[in-house]
């Protein structure tokens, strides 16, 4: 028996990412071909400065690709108008929300912005969606708190709830686990995993938590010096792709425990 056909949510075709100005193009990574299906949890892994954020910005349509295509639900991202795109892709960024005076409810409610009328009035359906995403992330008890009262871990959950409330088939998160302790790192990633199972959303996130990603993700996109390797954690383990993530010497990949160790 074949597993049911999964729809493609995100696909790149020969994608070159980087920066361009009038005089020069700076290519960060070339010829990226990846595909993400609904219900998949995908980690983008790579050392600092390898271009994870640029990659995610290109995937979310914030930044233009140098070459190649990004397809969201089989439609080219540049051709989707901004309001429609807002109903397809939601973001959780590393920059903290500017106004921490917002209450948790207000912040999560802003996820409904693309669907509300000209003055932003929340319909019954909007309120239901907000409630559901607060429940899904497990922060109902925080909803009347102000953002400045929250810990980093709580704030991260609130931002995730906002993205969920936006009700998009694809959620992109840029380093959702920075500033968090090990417990909250695992908690947030587990939460993302749970959300992919529960809501069938595709979730793509950048992270430095290789050990946790190997245990939790359906797929890992490994970014290394102009080269991208994709596969399930198992495939990547078998091909030995992890052993070249970091420069040689200091850290080695221990295949037996599927984790990184400091070279004694």
């Amino acid at each position: 028996m074949n597993p049911p056909e999964k729809h493609s949510i995100l696909k790149t075709i020969d994608l070159d990412i980087g920066y361009s100005n009038k005089t020069a193009k700076t290519i960060i990574t070339e010829a990226i071909n990846i595909e993400v299906h609904e219900g998949e949890l995908v980690a983008v892994i790579g050392v600092n400065g390898v271009g994870k954020s640029t990659f995610l910005r290109t995937l979310s349509g914030v930044q233009d690709a140098l070459k190649g295509k990004v397809l969201v639900k089989n439609e080219q991202i540049q051709q989707i108008d901004s309001l429609e795109l807002a109903s397809l892709v939601s973001l959780v960024l590393t920059e903290q929300p500017i106004s921490k005076n917002l209450s948790v409810f207000e912040l999560v409610a802003l996820g409904r912005q693309p669907y509300t009328n000209w003055i932003g009035r929340l319909s019954k359906n909007d309120l239901r969606q907000i409630k559901k995403s607060l429940q899904n992330v497990g922060i109902e008890d925080l909803q009347n708190k102000k953002c400045y009262e929250l810990s980093d871990g709580q704030l991260q959950k609130v931002l995730i709830a906002r993205a969920i409330a936006q009700n998009t088939p694809l959620v992109i998160l840029d380093e959702p686990t920075t500033h968090l302790d090990l417990y909250h790192k695992a908690y947030v990633l587990k939460l993302l995993k749970k959300l992919t199972r529960k809501t069938n959303k595709a979730i793509v996130f950048a992270s430095h938590e290789i050990n946790l990603a190997i245990q939790l993700c359906d797929k890992i996109i490994l970014m290394q010096n102009k080269k991208v390797t994709t596969g399930s954690p198992k495939e990547l383990l078998e091909s030995g792709a992890f052993s070249t993530v970091f420069p040689e010497g200091l850290i080695v990949f221990d295949k037996a425990s599927a984790s990184f160790k400091i070279n004694p």
């Binding site: 914030v62 795109l85 960024l93 929300p97 802003l110 000209w118 929340l122």
Partner: protein, 342 residues
């Protein structure tokens, strides 16, 4: 759900503005009984014809000017705070009022320096309005350009400050060369005044105010998203460029026209949004915008009542009063909350 929760405070603010408006009209150097104040406003029989004249030709336009200036400045303060993501932003702090002052200084004092045929044209009320709006628009554009280059929102305040001192310098150079009469005219203008406007001028001011307020209301929804920062706003389908333009036009229309007619009025724009956030703990602009309009109007009516010192002959400069009330409020907020949030 949310809007109903805040209906009561909004209603109270509205009633407050009406009551303060009546108080404002009934108090002044001449004592007029309440009955006759009502009668003059509603065009009924008044005991003394001079009373009717005082009410209709002087106090009523003054009260309306107070409402327009207060609400207009407060709204431009709110728009600036959200757009620049800076709780200390406001038309005065960002140098908009300085820009307007520079425009007016050049027109009033420049007229005598450049002399001759220009003077007549330059000194009409219209040219003051245009010069002052242009001045504030120029400063706002400069601040905007700077904010695009510098991500640091503190830098924007410094640029506003620099414009203020630049203006002060140009004004002192101009005043050094201009005759006493013009200098005095400028100084009086810079004190700020709500009472010198004819009905005609109130009409012009109201027109600018109306356009500015409508523009502000038109971007209420997108102002909410801007609270998350530009990247999030963009990801929610908001056109940053378009909204930034609308906000800038609204602010320079409001701040420019108000400064032209009523002089540079400090602190109202900065303080009112913060005061409102204390009373109504909400960030949704669909509630903040009407609340700030009402709050600005109320504060200005209070300042004007204080300025005319009921029962006294003199009227204090309105700019001094707003600073006397506004500055302690800002300090109190800062000390109490230790940090400014917006």
């Amino acid at each position: 759900m949310q809007s109903q929760k805040y209906a009561l405070p909004l209603l109270l603010l509205f009633l407050g503005v009406i009551i303060l408006g009546f108080l404002n009209i009934s108090l002044g150097s001449v004592n007029i009984p309440f009955k006759d104040v009502f009668a003059s406003i509603f065009n009924l029989e008044v005991s003394k014809e001079t009373w009717r004249y005082i009410i209709v030709e002087y106090r009523l336009p003054k009260a309306i000017t107070a409402i327009i200036t207060g609400s207009g400045l407060a709204i431009s303060g709110l728009l600036m705070q959200t757009l620049f993501r800076n709780p200390l932003a406001g038309p005065y702090v960002l140098g908009l009022s300085s820009g307007a002052s520079l425009g007016v200084a050049i027109v009033i004092m420049g007229a005598s320096v450049f002399g001759g045929a220009f003077a007549g044209i330059l000194l009409s009320k219209w040219s003051l309005v245009i010069a002052s709006s242009l001045g504030s628009l120029l400063v706002l554009i400069a601040v905007m350009l700077a904010s695009l280059r510098l991500r640091d929102t503190m830098a924007i305040l410094i640029i506003g400050l620099m414009f203020a001192s630049l203006t002060a310098a140009v004004v002192s150079v101009l005043s050094y060369f201009s005759p006493a009469a013009q200098l005095q005219q400028y100084v009086f203008w810079s004190f700020g005044s709500l009472g010198d406007l004819s009905w005609n001028e109130v009409g012009i001011l109201a027109m600018f105010w109306f356009v500015g307020i409508i523009l502000a209301i038109s971007c209420i929804k997108n102002l909410n998203t801007l609270l998350l920062g530009e990247q999030y706003a963009k990801s929610l389908g908001v056109s940053i460029r378009k909204n930034r333009l609308i906000i800038i036009i609204a602010t320079s229309l409001l701040a420019g026209s108000i400064t032209a007619f009523a002089g540079p009025i400090a602190f109202v724009g900065l303080a009112v949004p913060h005061l409102i956030r204390q009373i109504i703990p909400v960030n949704n602009h669909s509630i903040l915008v009407p609340a700030v309009i009402l709050g600005g109007a109320a504060l200005m009516l209070i300042c004007d009542i204080a300025a005319q010192m009921p029962g006294q002959e003199y009227t204090l400069p309105i700019n001094a009063i707003t600073s006397l009330i506004g500055a302690p409020v800002v300090i109190w907020l800062l000390v109490r909350k230790r940090k400014f949030l917006f």
